[in-house]
Symmetry: C2
Subunit: 336 residues, 2 copies
């Protein structure tokens, strides 16, 4: 089994690769487990050293669109593509053309390249909760279902939603076997902040645990739909593994989410790391972020994911404890 | 007022131009009627002679994508674009790459060219009922509403739906003032058959009236959502004229439709032109067309269009009589 992971050096791409390498094999569409021979990671930067040290990992560094145009990727014999590479929401809003290139042109070029393979490879596309947005002057539908009409209110969301459509049509035409999963806001992300407007939902946990101040620019009542890194990667892999009946229709699937509030997240942090942690939170409101967050769904149903056997995180405190266990070097505060 | 009509030599484009020229003025977003100084028609072929004879009409012939890339279109000072040009559904299903170029790349290039004008021109996009399709093994939602999630089951439908998303985001970003209207199946189209799978819904009236045989390849019970050419053009123009409050949200709007059946259409033909007309109908079923038509919505709600003041045709017989009045030279049978 020959796997390509785009955005492979990102936090999710690297975690996905580690999980696959630890599994050692994968079953496509329920057709029996096959050993993983190779994972090709592509990104603008090199993947982490632990991945480079695995003899099954290859690494192709560069701009994905250029790599596709020069036919360096995908390599012949690619059976499975996880397409995670994307410019993030904040970037796409600041630079429209960058977003169209990174998120729409690149996805289309990757789909065309997979079509050219002629082998109908499995193509798992990481879409996003960001396809949902509230129309001007209207609240979001409550709850958001798998078949709610997305009305994206960001260029990032539009580009993800357009890519879902392309994946669906390339699949219908028999060019690929495509499956789109909508990732929820992933928290707690380790590492450094990225340009995503949702970044504070990880930073408000990660930075205080490291003894650093963190912005919490919305009200404690703001509700959000979150998933831990582990649950997110689990959903991405199951999208490739599920047989056709278990997967269901060719439309995008909402991954499971935990419905919580920013105030409850801060309370979980305090239960784990005490008031010295929450004292590092700066609750100065940022009207721009507040407006954006109000447009994000806090209540997302995931009926199809549940029918597939996926589950959400039990509560936010366990997400915080998972983060601490997985990132011991990033925690400086004494824990309770 | 400087207007560009793409697909201007097609039947709808030409009818739109004639209607606008007869009006003489148009009001954009409810901002007061302005005289129409120029209508630039673009298409691969020349527009009809009556339009070329109007001094307000200019004509730029060629491939639209090439005309946009060479910056011949849109001309400086364009206030309003009606984007009707498209490869039709049958073509796009036979030639995937042609459809992507004609319906997706060209729409995007036109949107970029309008953005480059810097004047936020009004952009009316002719989308289609074809964005709706039934998922494999599932019936269509009944009824289809303005906010039903489209799950297109044709490349044409996917390309139209993607274009709706681009129009919405270019509008949100302030590059254009975009409005997408979903055209219903237009019947009775005059002229010759085109490559659309829905073509028989005009041919089954037009050909018998001309004394010719016509295929009716589905069962009389098949339900369809139709609009006459007049009602269709009315909706396209109102999309440009309505003020923002009357237009409503930035999502696409279903134009009004008459819900009828193929059997009722044949009965209307017989009431107008007698059994000699319906004797020319060949009811041999075509399984491919039957399958396609089953995937088309027969029951489409148009709540937003009604709130804007638009109306559907009263009944199919009046559509047939309108066709006969407007196309006297195309009718060879004696009428009742």
């Amino acid at each position: 089994m020959n796997i390509l992971i785009t955005g492979g050096s990102g936090f999710l791409g690297a975690r996905l690769a580690r999980t696959l390498l630890a599994k050692g094999s994968i079953s496509l569409r329920g057709q029996g487990a096959m050993p993983i021979d190779r994972i090709t990671m592509t990104d603008r930067v090199a993947p982490p050293d632990d991945l480079l040290g695995d003899r099954r990992v290859a690494h192709v560094q560069g701009d994905l669109l250029e790599l596709l145009q020069s036919r360096r990727l995908p390599t012949v014999g690619t059976d499975l593509v996880f397409h995670l590479a994307a410019a993030v929401s904040g970037e796409c809003e600041l630079d429209f053309d960058l977003g169209m290139r990174s998120n729409m042109d690149t996805t289309r070029a990757l789909l065309e390249a997979c079509r050219a393979l002629g082998s109908q490879p499995m193509f798992v596309f990481a879409s996003s909760l960001a396809v949902f947005g509230n129309l001007p002057g209207q609240p979001l539908p409550e709850p958001i279902r798998d078949d709610t009409l997305p009305t994206p209110q960001s260029s990032y969301g539009i580009q993800k939603f357009i890519s879902e459509q392309l994946v669906a049509d390339f699949t219908r035409k028999g060019f690929i076997t495509g499956r789109s999963v909508r990732l929820m806001t992933v928290s707690v992300r380790p590492g450094r902040p990225n340009g995503a407007a949702s970044g504070f939902l990880s930073g408000m946990i990660r930075e205080p645990l490291a003894g650093l101040k963190a912005a919490c620019p919305v009200s404690p009542q703001a509700t959000v739909a979150l998933a831990s890194p582990a649950r997110t990667v689990e959903g991405i892999i199951l999208a490739a593994e599920a047989d056709d009946a278990r997967w269901g229709p060719p439309t995008a699937l909402n991954l499971p989410s935990l419905r919580t509030s920013v105030g409850d997240m801060a309370a979980a942090l305090e239960r784990v790391a005490g008031p010295q942690a929450t004292a590092l939170l700066d609750w100065t409101p940022d009207p721009l972020v507040q407006r954006l967050v109000r447009g994000w769904p806090g209540h997302v149903e995931w009926t199809r994911a549940r029918q597939m056997g996926l589950a959400a995180d039990a509560d936010f405190e366990s997400i915080v404890r998972d983060y601490i266990r997985e990132n011991p070097g990033a925690v400086k505060l004494p824990l309770r």
